[in-house]
Subunit: 130 residues, 3 copies
Protein backbone atom coordinates (compact mmCIF):
# COMPACT_ATOMS: atom_id res chain seq x y z
CA UNK A 1 0.00 0.00 0.00
CA UNK A 2 1.33 3.43 -1.01
CA UNK A 3 0.22 6.75 0.50
CA UNK A 4 -0.08 9.98 -1.44
CA UNK A 5 -0.71 13.36 0.16
CA UNK A 6 -3.12 15.93 -1.27
CA UNK A 7 -3.19 19.52 -0.13
CA UNK A 8 -6.66 20.97 -0.76
CA UNK A 9 -7.24 24.71 -1.07
CA UNK A 10 -10.98 25.27 -0.69
CA UNK A 11 -14.06 24.13 1.25
CA UNK A 12 -15.22 22.02 -1.71
CA UNK A 13 -12.70 21.11 -4.39
CA UNK A 14 -12.50 18.31 -6.95
CA UNK A 15 -8.91 17.47 -7.88
CA UNK A 16 -7.56 15.16 -10.58
CA UNK A 17 -5.10 12.77 -8.92
CA UNK A 18 -4.59 10.43 -11.90
CA UNK A 19 -0.83 11.23 -12.17
CA UNK A 20 -0.19 10.24 -8.55
CA UNK A 21 -2.12 6.98 -8.99
CA UNK A 22 -0.30 6.17 -12.24
CA UNK A 23 3.02 6.67 -10.49
CA UNK A 24 2.03 4.33 -7.65
CA UNK A 25 0.97 1.67 -10.16
CA UNK A 26 4.31 1.89 -11.97
CA UNK A 27 6.18 1.60 -8.68
CA UNK A 28 4.09 -1.38 -7.55
CA UNK A 29 5.32 -3.40 -10.53
CA UNK A 30 2.13 -5.45 -10.86
CA UNK A 31 1.48 -6.39 -14.48
CA UNK A 32 -2.16 -7.58 -14.39
CA UNK A 33 -4.54 -6.74 -11.58
CA UNK A 34 -6.68 -4.12 -9.92
CA UNK A 35 -5.73 -0.81 -8.36
CA UNK A 36 -7.81 0.37 -5.39
CA UNK A 37 -7.59 4.01 -4.35
CA UNK A 38 -8.99 4.43 -0.84
CA UNK A 39 -9.81 7.70 0.96
CA UNK A 40 -9.29 7.36 4.76
CA UNK A 41 -11.45 10.39 5.57
CA UNK A 42 -15.17 10.84 6.30
CA UNK A 43 -15.63 14.30 4.78
CA UNK A 44 -13.92 13.58 1.45
CA UNK A 45 -14.59 11.05 -1.27
CA UNK A 46 -13.33 9.85 -4.63
CA UNK A 47 -14.89 9.33 -8.04
CA UNK A 48 -14.02 8.77 -11.69
CA UNK A 49 -15.21 11.27 -14.27
CA UNK A 50 -14.12 13.50 -17.13
CA UNK A 51 -11.05 15.54 -16.43
CA UNK A 52 -10.44 17.14 -19.86
CA UNK A 53 -13.05 19.88 -19.42
CA UNK A 54 -12.84 21.29 -15.86
CA UNK A 55 -16.47 22.41 -16.06
CA UNK A 56 -17.58 18.79 -15.55
CA UNK A 57 -16.01 18.86 -12.07
CA UNK A 58 -17.67 22.24 -11.39
CA UNK A 59 -21.09 20.93 -12.46
CA UNK A 60 -20.68 17.85 -10.26
CA UNK A 61 -19.68 19.99 -7.26
CA UNK A 62 -22.63 22.36 -7.81
CA UNK A 63 -25.13 19.50 -8.15
CA UNK A 64 -23.87 17.84 -4.96
CA UNK A 65 -24.32 21.19 -3.19
CA UNK A 66 -27.90 21.29 -4.53
CA UNK A 67 -28.64 17.73 -3.37
CA UNK A 68 -27.11 18.26 0.08
CA UNK A 69 -27.65 21.96 0.85
CA UNK A 70 -25.88 23.61 3.78
CA UNK A 71 -29.02 25.17 5.30
CA UNK A 72 -30.96 22.07 6.40
CA UNK A 73 -31.47 21.11 10.03
CA UNK A 74 -28.63 18.65 10.58
CA UNK A 75 -28.05 17.03 13.99
CA UNK A 76 -24.27 16.55 13.80
CA UNK A 77 -22.89 19.40 15.91
CA UNK A 78 -19.68 20.02 13.98
CA UNK A 79 -21.56 21.71 11.16
CA UNK A 80 -20.06 19.55 8.41
CA UNK A 81 -22.86 17.03 7.92
CA UNK A 82 -23.21 17.89 4.21
CA UNK A 83 -19.56 16.90 3.72
CA UNK A 84 -20.15 13.53 5.40
CA UNK A 85 -23.23 12.87 3.28
CA UNK A 86 -21.54 13.85 0.01
CA UNK A 87 -18.70 11.44 0.88
CA UNK A 88 -21.19 8.56 1.06
CA UNK A 89 -22.89 9.61 -2.19
CA UNK A 90 -19.67 9.55 -4.27
CA UNK A 91 -17.98 6.78 -2.22
CA UNK A 92 -14.69 6.17 -0.42
CA UNK A 93 -12.80 4.16 -3.03
CA UNK A 94 -12.45 3.50 -6.74
CA UNK A 95 -11.20 0.36 -8.48
CA UNK A 96 -9.39 0.53 -11.83
CA UNK A 97 -7.97 -2.35 -13.87
CA UNK A 98 -4.18 -2.64 -14.33
CA UNK A 99 -2.88 -4.30 -17.49
CA UNK A 100 0.61 -4.38 -18.93
CA UNK A 101 1.80 -2.71 -15.73
CA UNK A 102 -0.29 0.37 -16.40
CA UNK A 103 -3.51 1.85 -15.08
CA UNK A 104 -6.33 1.24 -17.59
CA UNK A 105 -8.72 4.18 -17.73
CA UNK A 106 -11.12 5.09 -20.51
CA UNK A 107 -10.13 7.91 -22.88
CA UNK A 108 -11.87 10.68 -20.97
CA UNK A 109 -11.60 9.30 -17.46
CA UNK A 110 -9.61 10.75 -14.59
CA UNK A 111 -9.51 9.82 -10.89
CA UNK A 112 -10.95 12.72 -8.97
CA UNK A 113 -10.36 13.34 -5.26
CA UNK A 114 -13.39 15.11 -3.77
CA UNK A 115 -12.70 17.49 -0.88
CA UNK A 116 -15.95 18.43 0.86
CA UNK A 117 -14.67 20.03 4.07
CA UNK A 118 -11.36 21.73 3.26
CA UNK A 119 -8.92 23.19 3.05
CA UNK A 120 -6.92 20.36 4.63
CA UNK A 121 -4.01 18.03 4.14
CA UNK A 122 -5.47 14.73 2.95
CA UNK A 123 -4.24 11.24 2.05
CA UNK A 124 -5.18 8.52 -0.38
CA UNK A 125 -4.04 4.93 0.07
CA UNK A 126 -3.23 3.14 -3.18
CA UNK A 127 -3.11 -0.68 -3.37
CA UNK A 128 -2.34 -2.73 -6.46
CA UNK A 129 -3.05 -6.42 -6.35
CA UNK A 130 -2.80 -9.09 -9.02
CA UNK B 1 -9.17 -8.57 -18.27
CA UNK B 2 -12.05 -9.35 -20.62
CA UNK B 3 -14.02 -6.80 -22.63
CA UNK B 4 -17.73 -7.03 -23.36
CA UNK B 5 -19.57 -4.71 -25.75
CA UNK B 6 -22.99 -3.27 -25.02
CA UNK B 7 -25.14 -1.61 -27.66
CA UNK B 8 -27.49 0.85 -25.97
CA UNK B 9 -30.71 2.00 -27.65
CA UNK B 10 -31.88 5.12 -25.79
CA UNK B 11 -30.66 8.31 -24.13
CA UNK B 12 -31.07 6.74 -20.68
CA UNK B 13 -31.25 2.97 -20.42
CA UNK B 14 -30.54 0.51 -17.62
CA UNK B 15 -29.53 -2.92 -18.94
CA UNK B 16 -28.96 -6.20 -17.11
CA UNK B 17 -25.51 -7.51 -18.09
CA UNK B 18 -25.31 -10.36 -15.55
CA UNK B 19 -25.13 -13.08 -18.27
CA UNK B 20 -22.07 -11.44 -19.90
CA UNK B 21 -20.33 -11.12 -16.54
CA UNK B 22 -21.12 -14.72 -15.60
CA UNK B 23 -19.64 -15.89 -18.88
CA UNK B 24 -16.44 -13.91 -18.29
CA UNK B 25 -16.12 -15.40 -14.80
CA UNK B 26 -16.47 -18.94 -16.16
CA UNK B 27 -13.85 -18.23 -18.82
CA UNK B 28 -11.43 -16.74 -16.30
CA UNK B 29 -11.30 -20.03 -14.41
CA UNK B 30 -10.72 -18.42 -11.01
CA UNK B 31 -12.29 -20.50 -8.22
CA UNK B 32 -12.25 -18.10 -5.25
CA UNK B 33 -11.87 -14.34 -5.62
CA UNK B 34 -13.48 -11.10 -6.63
CA UNK B 35 -14.89 -9.98 -9.98
CA UNK B 36 -14.59 -6.28 -10.82
CA UNK B 37 -16.74 -4.88 -13.63
CA UNK B 38 -15.39 -1.51 -14.74
CA UNK B 39 -17.06 1.03 -17.05
CA UNK B 40 -14.45 3.02 -19.06
CA UNK B 41 -16.88 5.85 -19.87
CA UNK B 42 -17.75 9.13 -18.13
CA UNK B 43 -21.42 9.33 -19.12
CA UNK B 44 -22.36 5.77 -18.13
CA UNK B 45 -22.16 3.88 -14.85
CA UNK B 46 -22.87 0.53 -13.28
CA UNK B 47 -24.87 -0.66 -10.27
CA UNK B 48 -26.33 -3.76 -8.68
CA UNK B 49 -30.07 -3.96 -8.11
CA UNK B 50 -33.19 -6.03 -8.69
CA UNK B 51 -33.57 -7.31 -12.18
CA UNK B 52 -36.62 -9.57 -11.81
CA UNK B 53 -39.17 -6.74 -11.98
CA UNK B 54 -38.12 -4.25 -14.70
CA UNK B 55 -40.03 -1.47 -12.95
CA UNK B 56 -37.21 -1.21 -10.38
CA UNK B 57 -34.86 -0.10 -13.16
CA UNK B 58 -37.50 2.36 -14.42
CA UNK B 59 -37.97 3.84 -10.95
CA UNK B 60 -34.21 4.20 -10.48
CA UNK B 61 -33.86 5.92 -13.87
CA UNK B 62 -36.76 8.28 -13.12
CA UNK B 63 -35.41 9.19 -9.68
CA UNK B 64 -31.94 9.93 -11.10
CA UNK B 65 -33.61 12.20 -13.66
CA UNK B 66 -35.38 13.97 -10.79
CA UNK B 67 -32.15 14.39 -8.78
CA UNK B 68 -30.16 15.61 -11.80
CA UNK B 69 -32.70 17.40 -14.00
CA UNK B 70 -31.82 18.40 -17.57
CA UNK B 71 -32.94 22.03 -17.24
CA UNK B 72 -30.40 23.40 -14.73
CA UNK B 73 -27.68 25.87 -15.65
CA UNK B 74 -24.73 23.56 -16.32
CA UNK B 75 -21.35 24.93 -17.44
CA UNK B 76 -20.12 21.95 -19.45
CA UNK B 77 -20.74 22.99 -23.04
CA UNK B 78 -21.52 19.56 -24.50
CA UNK B 79 -24.95 19.53 -22.89
CA UNK B 80 -24.49 16.16 -21.20
CA UNK B 81 -23.56 17.26 -17.68
CA UNK B 82 -26.47 15.35 -16.12
CA UNK B 83 -25.06 12.13 -17.63
CA UNK B 84 -21.62 12.83 -16.11
CA UNK B 85 -23.13 13.55 -12.70
CA UNK B 86 -25.36 10.46 -12.71
CA UNK B 87 -22.27 8.37 -13.55
CA UNK B 88 -20.58 9.59 -10.35
CA UNK B 89 -23.72 8.99 -8.28
CA UNK B 90 -24.05 5.32 -9.24
CA UNK B 91 -20.31 4.72 -9.71
CA UNK B 92 -17.94 3.32 -12.35
CA UNK B 93 -17.42 -0.20 -11.05
CA UNK B 94 -18.98 -3.01 -9.06
CA UNK B 95 -17.26 -5.80 -7.14
CA UNK B 96 -18.86 -9.21 -6.72
CA UNK B 97 -17.47 -12.27 -4.90
CA UNK B 98 -16.55 -15.38 -6.90
CA UNK B 99 -16.77 -18.75 -5.19
CA UNK B 100 -16.64 -22.26 -6.64
CA UNK B 101 -15.75 -20.64 -9.97
CA UNK B 102 -19.07 -18.82 -10.11
CA UNK B 103 -20.27 -15.26 -9.58
CA UNK B 104 -22.00 -14.97 -6.19
CA UNK B 105 -24.96 -12.60 -6.35
CA UNK B 106 -27.89 -12.42 -3.96
CA UNK B 107 -31.19 -14.00 -5.06
CA UNK B 108 -32.66 -10.82 -6.55
CA UNK B 109 -29.47 -9.08 -7.66
CA UNK B 110 -28.42 -8.34 -11.21
CA UNK B 111 -25.52 -6.28 -12.55
CA UNK B 112 -27.01 -3.29 -14.32
CA UNK B 113 -25.18 -1.19 -16.90
CA UNK B 114 -26.45 2.40 -16.75
CA UNK B 115 -26.44 4.34 -20.03
CA UNK B 116 -26.97 8.04 -19.37
CA UNK B 117 -26.01 9.56 -22.74
CA UNK B 118 -26.93 7.05 -25.43
CA UNK B 119 -27.58 5.50 -27.74
CA UNK B 120 -23.97 4.38 -28.15
CA UNK B 121 -21.69 1.38 -28.39
CA UNK B 122 -20.21 0.88 -24.92
CA UNK B 123 -17.72 -1.45 -23.22
CA UNK B 124 -17.30 -2.99 -19.80
CA UNK B 125 -13.96 -4.40 -18.63
CA UNK B 126 -14.26 -7.51 -16.48
CA UNK B 127 -11.40 -8.64 -14.21
CA UNK B 128 -11.42 -11.69 -11.96
CA UNK B 129 -8.68 -12.00 -9.36
CA UNK B 130 -8.12 -14.54 -6.61
CA UNK C 1 -15.53 -15.74 1.72
CA UNK C 2 -17.05 -15.34 5.20
CA UNK C 3 -20.71 -14.57 5.93
CA UNK C 4 -21.90 -12.40 8.80
CA UNK C 5 -25.54 -12.02 9.80
CA UNK C 6 -27.11 -8.69 10.75
CA UNK C 7 -30.47 -8.42 12.46
CA UNK C 8 -32.01 -5.04 11.68
CA UNK C 9 -34.69 -3.51 13.90
CA UNK C 10 -36.30 -0.71 11.87
CA UNK C 11 -37.49 0.24 8.39
CA UNK C 12 -34.38 2.36 7.84
CA UNK C 13 -31.36 1.77 10.04
CA UNK C 14 -27.64 2.44 9.66
CA UNK C 15 -25.51 0.03 11.68
CA UNK C 16 -21.76 0.00 12.34
CA UNK C 17 -20.44 -3.46 11.39
CA UNK C 18 -16.72 -2.67 11.68
CA UNK C 19 -16.16 -5.20 14.52
CA UNK C 20 -17.59 -8.07 12.44
CA UNK C 21 -15.43 -7.11 9.46
CA UNK C 22 -12.30 -6.80 11.62
CA UNK C 23 -12.94 -10.27 13.00
CA UNK C 24 -13.30 -11.75 9.50
CA UNK C 25 -10.03 -10.10 8.44
CA UNK C 26 -8.18 -11.56 11.43
CA UNK C 27 -9.60 -15.01 10.68
CA UNK C 28 -8.68 -14.78 7.00
CA UNK C 29 -5.01 -14.47 7.91
CA UNK C 30 -4.11 -12.32 4.90
CA UNK C 31 -1.27 -9.91 5.72
CA UNK C 32 -1.41 -7.45 2.79
CA UNK C 33 -4.41 -7.06 0.54
CA UNK C 34 -7.93 -5.75 0.14
CA UNK C 35 -11.09 -6.58 2.04
CA UNK C 36 -14.36 -6.45 0.10
CA UNK C 37 -17.63 -6.34 2.06
CA UNK C 38 -20.53 -7.22 -0.24
CA UNK C 39 -24.27 -6.86 0.48
CA UNK C 40 -26.30 -9.58 -1.34
CA UNK C 41 -29.58 -7.65 -1.05
CA UNK C 42 -31.32 -5.10 -3.29
CA UNK C 43 -32.99 -3.00 -0.57
CA UNK C 44 -29.91 -2.55 1.61
CA UNK C 45 -26.49 -1.05 0.96
CA UNK C 46 -23.16 -0.33 2.60
CA UNK C 47 -21.01 2.75 3.05
CA UNK C 48 -18.06 4.09 5.02
CA UNK C 49 -18.53 7.13 7.23
CA UNK C 50 -18.07 8.51 10.72
CA UNK C 51 -19.22 6.24 13.47
CA UNK C 52 -18.03 8.15 16.56
CA UNK C 53 -20.97 10.58 16.57
CA UNK C 54 -24.21 8.66 15.83
CA UNK C 55 -25.82 11.86 14.53
CA UNK C 56 -23.81 11.52 11.30
CA UNK C 57 -25.68 8.30 10.53
CA UNK C 58 -28.99 10.00 11.40
CA UNK C 59 -28.23 12.93 9.10
CA UNK C 60 -27.28 10.59 6.25
CA UNK C 61 -30.49 8.57 6.71
CA UNK C 62 -32.61 11.75 6.80
CA UNK C 63 -30.97 13.18 3.69
CA UNK C 64 -31.46 9.93 1.75
CA UNK C 65 -35.14 10.06 2.76
CA UNK C 66 -35.28 13.63 1.40
CA UNK C 67 -33.62 12.65 -1.89
CA UNK C 68 -35.81 9.57 -2.38
CA UNK C 69 -39.13 10.44 -0.72
CA UNK C 70 -41.74 7.75 -0.09
CA UNK C 71 -44.64 9.66 -1.67
CA UNK C 72 -43.58 9.75 -5.34
CA UNK C 73 -45.32 7.77 -8.07
CA UNK C 74 -43.17 4.65 -8.26
CA UNK C 75 -44.01 1.81 -10.65
CA UNK C 76 -42.57 -1.10 -8.67
CA UNK C 77 -45.63 -2.70 -7.09
CA UNK C 78 -44.03 -3.91 -3.86
CA UNK C 79 -43.95 -0.38 -2.46
CA UNK C 80 -40.25 -0.46 -1.60
CA UNK C 81 -38.82 1.39 -4.61
CA UNK C 82 -37.18 4.05 -2.40
CA UNK C 83 -35.22 1.27 -0.67
CA UNK C 84 -33.99 -0.09 -4.02
CA UNK C 85 -32.93 3.38 -5.17
CA UNK C 86 -31.12 4.24 -1.93
CA UNK C 87 -29.21 0.95 -2.26
CA UNK C 88 -27.87 2.07 -5.64
CA UNK C 89 -26.99 5.54 -4.33
CA UNK C 90 -24.80 4.26 -1.49
CA UNK C 91 -23.66 1.11 -3.28
CA UNK C 92 -23.51 -2.66 -2.66
CA UNK C 93 -19.91 -3.06 -1.54
CA UNK C 94 -16.97 -1.32 0.09
CA UNK C 95 -13.27 -2.02 -0.32
CA UNK C 96 -10.80 -1.41 2.50
CA UNK C 97 -7.03 -2.00 2.51
CA UNK C 98 -5.57 -4.71 4.75
CA UNK C 99 -2.01 -4.28 6.01
CA UNK C 100 -0.12 -6.14 8.73
CA UNK C 101 -3.08 -8.53 8.88
CA UNK C 102 -5.43 -5.77 9.99
CA UNK C 103 -8.18 -3.70 8.39
CA UNK C 104 -6.85 -0.20 7.61
CA UNK C 105 -9.53 2.43 8.18
CA UNK C 106 -9.04 6.15 8.75
CA UNK C 107 -9.31 7.46 12.32
CA UNK C 108 -12.99 8.34 12.13
CA UNK C 109 -14.16 5.74 9.63
CA UNK C 110 -16.53 2.88 10.30
CA UNK C 111 -18.17 0.40 7.92
CA UNK C 112 -21.89 1.08 7.99
CA UNK C 113 -24.54 -1.40 6.88
CA UNK C 114 -27.57 0.49 5.50
CA UNK C 115 -30.95 -1.15 6.01
CA UNK C 116 -33.57 0.53 3.82
CA UNK C 117 -36.46 -1.96 4.00
CA UNK C 118 -36.33 -3.61 7.41
CA UNK C 119 -36.63 -5.00 9.88
CA UNK C 120 -35.07 -8.15 8.45
CA UNK C 121 -32.31 -10.68 8.89
CA UNK C 122 -29.52 -9.66 6.50
CA UNK C 123 -26.10 -10.93 5.44
CA UNK C 124 -22.82 -9.43 4.36
CA UNK C 125 -20.20 -11.44 2.51
CA UNK C 126 -16.61 -10.61 3.46
CA UNK C 127 -13.71 -11.52 1.16
CA UNK C 128 -10.04 -10.80 1.84
CA UNK C 129 -7.59 -11.22 -1.00
CA UNK C 130 -3.89 -10.47 -1.23
Amino acid sequence: MRRATIRTQAKQELIDITPQVERAVREAGVQEGICTVFVPHTTAGITINENADPSVKEDLAALLERLVPPGLHYRHAEGNSPAHIKASLVGSSVQVPVSGGRLQLGTWQGIIFCEFDGPRSREVWISVHS
